[in-house]
């Protein structure tokens, strides 16, 4: 065996490449770092803006950023875009590394978590103009008197109904100003029956908690009280789960396993989106995605049962919040971006209802004519709810740990619909687990 010099040369070469690669990459790192920290004494300030959404929102947000940079020549905005499924995992890690973006989009789930740990700035003390935003909307982002998040837009949880499915089953659309929960179950069962099982009446509602929120409010309760405790009674939760069991039995909704499947398929795989169901609960701003999937126009119905009990249940929810990091090195510039997103007509025209029906009332009025049909429907729906005093007040901001509620609800609901837990036991388990999550 002889030494071949070429081989040795090659191995030396390999090591050189390795070293070069390492230094080259280190070089990249250095330039990036300078770029993002923005503290290099230059006249241009760089701020980071984090949000979630899919490709279409990436595109529209970039347009807004371009418009912002055009009118604020001293600021450069670095986008941090993620999908909803990864958003908080990533944001949590960034927060752990003390590296939170200057402007972050927040959600009900984590607003209190972040605010209570001093990570968010009080927006009331900044220059963000809130004069055009309804006080009830500002309230949903206020914790202990401090404004930690301003709703980009609003939406409500309502029943999406497919008029064609009703027509095909020869069932009359319900009058949503008077219908009761029993009407809801009866009509749903009728649709399934009359369509010969081709179309289900309604999609299971108890995998997530928004309908429970509505239901609790109708009973004069709140899921969480303003002081951060569970406000809904075990009986209310039990009767809410009971309806799911009954409806599966009456075939008003699909079997447990089919329901699980549909739930897992998201908006695009839901019953109304695929033409396999007459009704399902959604957020009002999801209507346009549903219409696009189903290929024809759908409509929104108010929650049933507003006359069954003591009061109405609907509440306004922030589609998402804009918040500013308490540790931002450029709070002034961050606030300017938030202000631009909320109040400029330019941003409003690009966003339309992508981030909920705009909370700025002037912007909202101005964009109405530009909306597509589905968005017009949902905008009008929300307006009517407010005008008819169906939405009477906002719900308290949920406490720390409330982010677990939807997982807990989904898990217990599976036990209920597969018959592993009675609705009463399920309600007890729900109360216990939610209490544990919020640290009570």
């Amino acid at each position: 065996m002889s030494i071949s010099t070429s081989r040795r040369a090659r191995s030396v070469g390999l090591l050189t490449v390795l070293a070069l690669a390492a230094t080259g990459l280190a070089g990249c790192a250095a330039t990036h770092d300078n770029g993002s920290s923005g503290g290099g004494g230059g006249d241009k300030v760089t701020i980071k803006f984090a949000w979630w959404g899919s490709d279409s929102r990436v595109e529209s947000t970039q347009k807004i950023i371009d418009a912002f940079e055009a009118s604020h020549s001293n600021i450069h905005v670095e986008p941090v875009s993620m999908t909803w499924d990864d958003y908080f995992e990533k944001l949590n890690v960034m927060a752990a590394g003390d590296d939170m973006p200057d402007v972050v989009t927040q959600d009900d789930r984590y607003l209190t978590e972040y605010a209570s740990r001093g990570l968010l700035a009080d927006l009331a003390s900044t220059d963000v103009d809130t004069s055009k935003i309804d006080q009830s909307v500002l309230d949903v982002g206020t914790i202990d008197g401090k404004l930690y998040g301003i709703a980009s837009g609003i939406n409500v949880h309502a029943v999406v109904a497919d008029p064609e499915a009703f027509k095909a089953a020869d069932v009359a659309m319900p009058d949503d100003t008077t219908w009761t929960w029993d009407d809801y179950s009866r009509i749903a069962a009728e649709v399934t029956k009359k369509s010969g099982g081709k179309v289900y009446g309604v999609q299971n509602y108890s995998f997530i908690e928004p309908v429970l929120e509505v239901y609790a409010r109708q009973h004069g309760e709140e899921m969480f009280t303003p002081d951060g405790k569970i406000g809904v009674s075990q009986d209310t939760v039990a009767s809410w789960f009971q309806r799911s069991v009954d409806q599966i039995k009456s075939k008003a909704e699909p079997s447990a396993s089919k329901a699980t499947e549909v739930q897992g398929a998201g908006v695009d795989g839901s019953l109304p989106a695929t033409g396999k169901g007459a009704m399902a609960w959604f957020w009002s701003n999801q209507l346009s995605a549903l219409e696009k999937d189903s290929g024809h126009s759908l409509t929104l119905l108010r929650a049933p049962g507003d006359h069954d009990f003591s009061r109405t249940g609907e509440y306004i929810r922030a589609a998402m919040y804009y918040s500013v990091s308490a540790k931002s090195k450029h709070p002034k510039e961050a606030a300017e971006l938030v202000d631009f997103m909320l109040n400029s007509q330019e941003a409003g025209d690009i966003n339309l209802t992508d981030r909920g029906l705009p909370s700025n009332l002037d912007v909202r009025t101005a964009i109405l004519p530009k909306l597509g049909d589905a968005d017009k429907t949902s905008a009008k729906f929300i307006e009517d709810l407010t005008n008819d005093k169906v939405v009477v007040d906002s719900k308290p901001v949920p406490p720390k740990g409330s982010g677990e509620v939807s997982d807990i609800t989904g898990r217990i609901n599976s036990d209920v619909i597969f018959g592993k837990k009675s609705p009463q036991d399920a309600a007890k388990a729900w109360i216990d687990q939610v209490n544990k999550a919020i640290g009570q």
Partner: protein, 315 residues
């Protein structure tokens, strides 16, 4: 001496550490080892050790990612024992490990041996068979699995031909785990590739010699292929057990991150992930991780100990 008896005698010798002379020869390897291990050691100290120690520390704290960790002693470990979902997740994971690992390795070995038989179009078959492994964790799989194992999926359409009315396999708590086991078996490409590489390292001369002895193919497989491939089988076994315990992506993708329905696919790491990242209990999640390390360590130790009885090294 025939190849097989030769192998046998080599195998018998294995208990003693190679031969005396070579051990003596290699007494002075310390310096060489330092050079060869330098990058690894540097990586261990800088990139690996710090997170390792940090996670151990965190396992004794209450840590929510958003604020500083607080020391709580053994509280997390005590809580672990009283957490029903931990037990559920251990049950799910154990079931998964004991079913999917042998199944996947068995299929991988079988196909590797079949593909090693100089068939026409071998390269093509190999690539096709490897394809599922290329997209194992892709979101497309979640949808595909629903298409196949859903209530109105392909499987049920097939069963309907025989008058059987199937359930929604992915969404039924009694069957959901098995669809994930199947998914794992279906992506057997990686161990198969390793087996194939191992098969190619077996010198032809053993087979030629045994052929002269008139050995049957089964006997060749048992007496030549298996013993000579045993280090690779062992590697695959150890690694598959470790990765099966850490199985995450497939359950995450199929259940949409929930481990549902009814926690029936709540894999240990999936639960750990939920706790650490979604519910902000990173201290608890770190404790879970170290319990997992202990479990895997025990099983890997067992594996190594058992390997003395069946793994055959050339050295």
């Amino acid at each position: 001496m025939s190849a097989i008896t030769e192998l046998r005698s080599m195998k018998r010798k294995r208990g003693t550490p190679a031969t005396k002379t070579s051990t003596n020869l290699r007494r002075s390897d310390g310096k060489a080892a330092a050079v060869f291990l330098a990058p690894w050691f540097l990586g261990l100290v800088t990139v690996t050790l710090f997170p390792l120690v940090a996670s151990l520390y965190l396992s004794f704290t209450k840590y929510d990612l958003l604020s500083s960790p607080q020391w709580v002693g053994f509280q997390n470990f005590v809580d672990l024992f009283h957490d029903e979902r931990i037990w559920q997740s251990l049950k799910v994971t154990m079931l998964y490990v004991v079913t999917s690992v042998p199944l996947q390795l068995g299929v991988a070995l079988l196909v590797a041996v079949l593909l090693n038989q100089g068939m026409k179009g071998l390269a093509f078959y190999r690539s096709v068979i490897y394809l599922p492994s290329l997209m194992g964790g892709s979101v497309a799989i979640a949808i595909l699995w629903r298409e196949i194992f859903g209530e109105e999926g392909l499987l049920n359409k097939f069963l309907a031909l025989f008058g059987i009315h199937g359930t929604g396999w992915v969404s039924n708590p009694d069957t959901a785990l098995w669809t994930i086991v199947l998914l794992h078996v279906w992506t057997f490409g990686s161990p198969m590739i390793i087996f194939l590489a191992g098969l190619r390292q077996i010198p032809d001369m053993y087979y030629e010699a045994s052929q002269l002895d008139g050995a049957s193919r089964w006997r060749q497989f048992r007496s030549i292929t298996l013993p000579l491939l045993s280090p690779i089988i062992f590697f695959n076994l150890v690694m598959q057990v470790i990765t099966a315990f850490q199985a995450f992506t497939q359950a995450y993708v199929v259940s949409g991150g929930t481990g549902g329905p009814s926690d029936s696919t709540l894999f240990y790491t999936l639960y750990l992930y939920q706790e650490g990242f979604s519910n902000l209990h990173m201290g608890y999640a770190s404790a879970m991780a170290w319990v997992l390390v202990l479990i895997i360590l025990a099983l890997t130790g067992l594996n190594f100990w058992l390997s003395k009885f069946w793994v055959f090294y050339g050295d």
